[in-house]
């Protein structure tokens, strides 16, 4: 059981370049999320998905697009990278359980460190 995996682990881009970050989960979770984490800012939600084929905007969606073609995968795209998008990106997933056991909390991937020059 790998949990949540992210590809790549590190990437350096030049301003204006594009790239796609891949997130995969093997826990059969319905919900998936993309966050960015910056010093002093905590985790900020970029986009999320409540199921295959559906996506929604989070707190800081500008400059990013997402797709969820398969339940286990959630892709984050940067069409034209900017230095302000230098950050650590985390993918997370969670189930739809409404119980109180903690099984519906989020499970995070190891992160992707992106630098935009």
């Amino acid at each position: 059981n790998a949990g949540v995996t992210q590809t790549p682990k590190f990437r350096v881009l030049k301003t204006g370049q594009s790239m796609t970050l891949l997130c995969a989960q093997d826990m059969n979770h319905e919900y998936m999320y993309w966050y960015r984490q910056d010093p002093g800012m905590g985790l900020r939600l970029i986009h999320y998905s409540v199921g295959e084929g559906t996506t929604a905007k989070g707190e800081v969606p500008d400059g990013y697009n997402v797709s969820r073609l398969k339940k286990q995968n959630f892709l984050l795209g940067l069409e034209s990278a900017a230095p302000s998008q230098t950050s650590v990106y985390f993918c997370a997933s969670s189930s739809t359980s409404s119980g109180t056991s903690g099984t519906d909390t989020q499970y995070f991937g190891p992160g992707t460190r992106l630098t935009v020059l």
């Binding site: 985790l43 409540v50 903690g102």
Partner: protein, 112 residues
């Protein structure tokens, strides 16, 4: 004003000390409370999960929720250098399963 406030630290303690980490919040609809531990250059991992008020204990860790004061705490007993990490609190309401509110994290350093 952010919905979840957390002192960023850093908090530096000697090995064996009792550590108290705290978060305050403003939304009275929060019912689910979580603590995540994040080691340097790693993703957050769930440490404790509490529903509604009260205490929950797991080994050296105790999570405490005081809904009347809108205040949650994580206590670490007999702290170890391996506890050195950033601790994030998170919470959500009963209405929206996919909306989690995170604190900005407190960096803890336990000195040998």
């Amino acid at each position: 004003q952010k919905e979840v406030e957390q002192d960023p630290g850093p908090l530096s303690v000697p090995e064996g000390a009792i550590v108290s980490l705290n978060c305050t919040y403003s939304n009275s609809a929060f019912q689910y409370f979580m603590w995540y531990r994040q080691y340097s250059r790693k993703g957050p991992e769930l440490l404790m999960y509490t529903y509604s008020s009260g205490n929950k204990e797991d080994g050296r860790f105790t999570a405490q929720v005081d809904k009347s004061s809108k205040y949650i705490s994580l206590f670490i007993r007999d702290s170890q250098p391996s506890d050195s990490a950033t601790y994030l609190c998170a919470m959500r309401t009963i209405y929206n399963f996919n909306k989690f509110y995170f604190g900005s994290g407190t960096k803890l350093n336990v000195k040998p």
